[in-house]
């Protein structure tokens, strides 16, 4: 029971169905998953296996059709849209395959954004954002806009943005898919380093065996179910 309480993520019997016209397309067909604090975990599987859907449920940006998702002990089923937004702002950091930086803001402002949502004072916001951008090796690019940065640099900004509010977990959906091999490896190393230094839980999806190799634990997903029943 003690181990259960330590779980930062608990997914129990989660299913997710989408409707394409009148056709029901099952994306997840009963997934159980527990993730402990500080884990560096990969959800692996081919395209269409339900990786992104599972990350969406854990990230509270979609609700399961059935089953339960708890984040840091909070059952997300009955939370309102605003409560879910608060939960995302305080507990979850996101890294996207396409980086998803706000193009009109500089690297520094992009990293400050999650702190703005939490109404952190300007000076503190700036200090933390600078610190994070320095930690990801972008101290020379603070005032560059995303379009002035390379793909790897953009993903570093995204990592800094995901980390800046000290979330309990970071969810990364195929974070290296749009990067060349070397840059992808650097990004994974950076994530691993952040995980080791800050004890932040990392959960990322991938279909690349080389990326899986770096994970502490791999949860294989196939056709919307966890392939390894022990997970």
């Amino acid at each position: 029971m003690g181990a259960l309480l330590m779980s930062i993520i608990r997914v129990e019997g989660a299913t997710k169905e989408y409707y394409l016209g009148k056709t029901v397309v099952p994306a997840l067909r009963g997934v159980d998953l527990q993730v402990e604090k500080g884990e560096f975990l990969a959800i692996a599987g081919p395209s269409g296996s339900g990786k992104t859907t599972l990350l969406n449920l854990i990230g509270c940006i979609e609700k399961p059709s059935a089953g339960k998702v708890s984040i840091d002990g909070v059952d997300t089923a009955h939370l309102t849209s605003d409560e879910l937004a608060d939960l995302r702002a305080t507990k979850i950091g996101f890294i996207f395959q396409n980086f998803n930086l706000l193009p009109v803001l500089t690297a520094l402002e992009n990293v400050e954004y999650p702190l703005s949502i939490r109404k952190i004072p300007a000076r503190e916001k700036r200090r933390k954002a600078r610190q994070l951008l320095e930690a990801v090796g972008l101290s020379r690019f603070l005032h560059h806009k995303p379009l002035e940065l390379s793909g790897g640099q953009r993903q570093r900004v995204a990592i800094a943005r995901a980390m800046v509010a000290d979330p309990a977990m970071i969810l990364a959906d195929e974070p290296t898919a749009n990067l060349d091999h070397t840059t992808g490896q650097e990004i994974l190393n950076l994530m691993k380093q952040m995980n080791a230094e800050r004890k932040t839980t990392f959960l990322f999806s991938t279909h690349d065996p080389k990326v899986m190799a770096i994970a502490q634990r791999v949860v294989p997903l196939s056709d919307g179910i966890v392939a390894d029943p022990q997970r």
């Binding site: 940006i61 849209s81 995302r88």
Partner: protein
């Protein structure tokens, strides 16, 4: 941060934003200019009417307004001097003048025509020469020069010329009379008998009203009183220093007359001239239509921009919400962007509107005589503060209104779907 984001988003697509801002700004310019043009037209029409004929207030004997048309000489004011002193005691009054009107016949000996005679006090009735009007058109000096009675040919009347007359130019033309001609003026006296006097044609005049110029002749009050066999007058015409004081002075006078037990009644220039009131109401409708057109153009322009923005930035909205921005935060962002477009467009519109209106006013727009009038004039569109405020308020309201639906739509996006939109 939301404001910074909104401001930068507005200028993300410069061409599109410039077009949207131009649409809003152009609408404001149109409102400010047309509002100023109408106001100048109203002002000149009003002042022209007041200063050429009606005055701000007219005083009659009690009952004249109701029954005076049938029996004008039953309602004469017998002791005008005392009343004039009373009226002149009011600070806002510029002058008071006496008048008497009568229906008559004017004849050259060969041609005769009916007319309305007006006995006036020349020193108090404004008149200017045609040459001054021409100068005024060239130099565009003092407006008031344009709005008095214009002596087209001959000379203005003088106090001591009892039997000299000025004919309205339409009347002179129909009679075929020339300056210097001897004419015969015939009318009923107040006792009901017929009287005729020889008069000399001193000149012709025109006012801002064609109908007036076609029927009226003017002669010194003393001459008219001799013709009509009376020492009384029919009305006292009051000119104020400022038209805005009309209602206040009217109330004050009414109170004074009551206090002194004087059986007198008052009419203000608006009551005398409902043509002005009706014209103003008509133009008001035109202006309302213009306001609606401007509002619709601004709403459609901003709506298009905001709707496109929501469509193009779907993935970005998904990102904002994934990062923890609430629905109302997203809605606020888009409303703010709309508000910025409205404020900037309105601001630019006001500056451009004032500039363009001032420029055009400094050049002047030569205008033909209005319907029923004879006098051409120069329009100098005014800067009207309430029109400026209205234009700005309209652009803000239009921008917020047109952003409301896109903002709502953005805030209701499904985050996962929105994120997928990036492809």
């Amino acid at each position: 941060m939301t404001f910074t984001l909104a401001l930068r988003n507005v200028f993300r697509h410069k061409t599109r934003s410039i077009i949207t801002l131009s649409t809003v700004a152009f609408g404001c310019v149109a409102l400010i200019f047309v509002g100023g043009f109408f106001e100048d037209t109203f002002y000149k029409m009003r002042e022209g009417y007041i200063r050429s004929y009606a005055g701000h207030l007219q005083v009659f004997k009690q009952g004249f307004l109701e029954k005076g048309a049938a029996k004008p000489f039953d309602y004469l004011i017998d002791n005008p001097g005392e009343i004039i002193t009373l009226i002149q005691g009011i600070e806002a009054v510029q002058y008071v003048t006496r008048r008497i009107e009568f229906a008559g016949l004017i004849s050259t000996g060969e041609n005769s025509t009916s007319c309305i005679g007006q006995g006036i006090e020349p020193k108090n009735e404004r008149s200017v020469r045609q040459s001054d009007v021409e100068k005024q058109f060239q130099s565009r000096g003092d407006l008031s020069l344009l709005v008095g009675n214009v002596i087209e040919t001959g000379d203005p009347l003088k106090e001591d010329e009892g039997f000299a007359v000025l004919l309205g130019r339409g009347l002179a033309s129909s009679l075929g009379a020339q300056v210097g001609d001897g004419l015969i003026l015939v009318s009923h006296t107040i006792g009901g008998s017929i009287n005729a006097v020889d008069v000399s044609l001193k000149g012709t005049f025109y006012t801002s009203t064609k109908d007036f110029d076609d029927h009226f002749l003017r002669l010194p009050l003393a001459g008219a009183q001799k013709l009509l066999h009376t020492d009384s007058v029919q009305s006292l015409v009051i000119l104020l220093k400022k038209t805005e004081d009309t209602a206040r002075v009217k109330a004050e006078l009414r109170h004074l007359f009551q206090e002194k037990g004087l059986a007198l009644e008052l009419r203000d220039w608006e009551e005398i001239n409902d043509f002005y009131t009706k014209t103003r109401a008509l133009f008001g409708r035109f202006f309302l239509i213009l306001k609606l057109v401007v509002a619709i153009i601004a709403i459609l322009g901003i709506f298009n921009t905001m709707n496109m923005a929501v469509l193009e930035r779907t993935a970005e909205i998904g990102t904002l919400m994934a990062l923890g921005t609430k629905q109302k935060g997203v809605a606020a962002l888009f409303l703010m962007e709309g508000g910025i477009l409205g404020a900037l467009g309105g601001g630019i519109g006001i500056i451009a509107g004032i500039g363009i209106t001032r420029l055009i006013a400094s050049i002047g727009i030569p205008m033909p005589p209005p319907p029923g009038a004879t006098m051409r004039w120069v329009s100098e569109p005014m800067i009207v503060p309430w029109t400026i405020l209205f234009a700005f308020a309209l652009s803000m309201a239009a921008s917020l209104l047109s952003s409301f639906y896109p903002a709502y739509k953005a805030s209701r996006l499904e985050i996962a779907q929105a994120l997928r939109y990036a492809g």
